[in-house]
Amino acid sequence: MTVLADLATPIIMGIFLGGLYTLIALGLSLVFGVMKLINVAHGDWVILGSYFAYTAMTMLGIDPFLSLVMGIPLLFVIGFGVQRFLLNRAFAVSLDAALLVCFGISIIFQNFCQIIWTPFSRGLRPPYGLESFSIGGLHVPLVYLLNFIAALAVMLFLREFLRRTYLGKAINAASQDRRAAQLMGINTGRVYAFAFAIAMAFAAIAGVLLGLTFPFTPTSGVSFLIIAFGVVIVGGLGSILGTFIGGMVFGLAQTLGGHFLGAVAQMLIAYILVFVVLAVRPRGIFGR
């Protein structure tokens, strides 16, 4: 009985943490699904979002969630510009060229953050940051629940957006068959820019939640990129549901691994899982 009760906490925590990982991975999954590009700077975009929220908090006293009113449009516009004027041109050369450009962006972002905010670790610490609440006797940090809720909200938004709007359908079409989409009158260059911008808007949201959950430094982006990779490999690239399941699996692997084998083994268990998935079903659970 005690064993089960003991497990309850890591399980709940794992699921909620999975929400954060899903949120971080959604942008990566979207960009890959639409334009077959692995955005190796994705983690750095998320951290940029974290730093923006940090600045809004420390300099203007704005709550991190409220700062998203500025943060989302900011990352949306920058993302749109980067895809429209930089990555589109790189794509015309080759997919590898676009990958290299993303790598360059990663380096630029990391150094930019380092110059402005120094290498010291930062965190988003609003008053409710340390609150916890009870579920049936278990104490769970409020922030973890917010991670989960945010993940559900963003996934729902994405699914409805892709299903109901013309732009959403166009993104869907362009990702299935670019040439046919062009012949339907879809300006695929602009559509790709919107898709990337939306993915970066998601990164802004993920950045806020990440900053609330963990401390971060200019180079944290890499660690979370690797986690995002793990999530999309397990869940399958290009599938919203897959990314969610992947996030849950990753979060659970981490917390349960830590519970049974200690904190040191947390990430190890998670990555062994990625390894197993790659060996057994490389496409991922829901991959296309």
Binding site: Y166, A170, R179, L183, G185
Partner: protein, 239 residues
């Protein structure tokens, strides 16, 4: 009543990288016509359609539509101007429903306001699409997919439809339905330029035809004349 020249291609050269695919090609399509572009694989027919659609641009020469020069225009703009290509191999969006495939066909600004009207027309032309409207496109048979591809093209409200190898892999009985639909489309005032390998069928369905070989137009004219033409008889009918 003099017929308006809708599409006029004048002496174009088109390259794929450094390889020349079209040599000094000229072609004209008048409003209300059904024109066939006939030739074997590699003769440049698809390249010509892709150039009209803006996926490729001529290195030399000019393409005019409704009197406007469209040689340097982007593919999505070509659709907005009124030319839609139904590509080879159907290329419907497999993971989207039949209805969504049709809806996305009306993506361009001009076509959006006429979406319901065009949807009704497409369902009248191809009732099977209405029946299967919530099915994923990949579950349709070859003939049904071709109807969907054609319907999707019509949703963009074109004046000129370019059809690339509509008959590939389809049974004659299915083709009959498709060609019947083409005639009905023409009745509604839409002009058609179709590409085919099947000479006999093409000449039966078109008003005029162009015959291409290795990137050049070698023969052209009214189908009645072409059927009598010695070169055609020898090359394509084995007479």
């Amino acid at each position: 009543m003099p017929q308006e020249t809708l599409l006029k291609i004048s002496n174009i050269d088109v390259f794929h990288g450094s390889f020349q695919a079209l040599w000094d090609v000229s072609l004209a399509v008048k409003a209300g016509e059904i024109v066939a572009l006939i030739g074997a694989n590699g003769s440049g027919k698809s390249t010509l359609l892709d150039t009209i659609s803006g996926l490729l641009h001529p290195a030399k020469g000019k393409i005019e539509f409704e009197g406007k020069d469209i040689s340097a225009v982007e593919p999505f703009q070509v659709v907005e101007l009124g030319i839609t290509q139904v590509p080879e191999g159907r290329r419907i969006f497999p993971e989207m429903t039949v209805l969504d495939n049709l809806i996305i066909g009306s993506y361009n600004r001009k076509a959006r306001s006429k979406r319901e009207q065009n949807l009704k027309m497409v369902c009248e032309l191809f009732p099977i699409l209405k029946e299967r409207k919530n099915q994923l496109a990949k579950t349709l048979s070859g003939g049904e997919q071709q109807m969907l591809a054609l319907g999707r093209g019509l949703m963009s409200d074109p004046r000129l439809v370019l059809l690339d190898e509509m008959s590939l892999g389809l049974a004659p009985i299915v083709l009959n339905d498709l060609y019947k639909a083409l005639r009905e489309i023409r009745e509604r005032g839409i002009t058609i330029l179709f590409v085919e390998q099947n000479v006999r069928r093409s000449l039966a369905e078109a008003d005029r035809a162009y015959i291409m070989e290795v990137g050049r137009v070698v023969l052209s004219g009214d189908v009645a004349e072409l059927r009598e033409e010695e070169g055609v008889k020898k090359a394509y009918f084995g007479v």
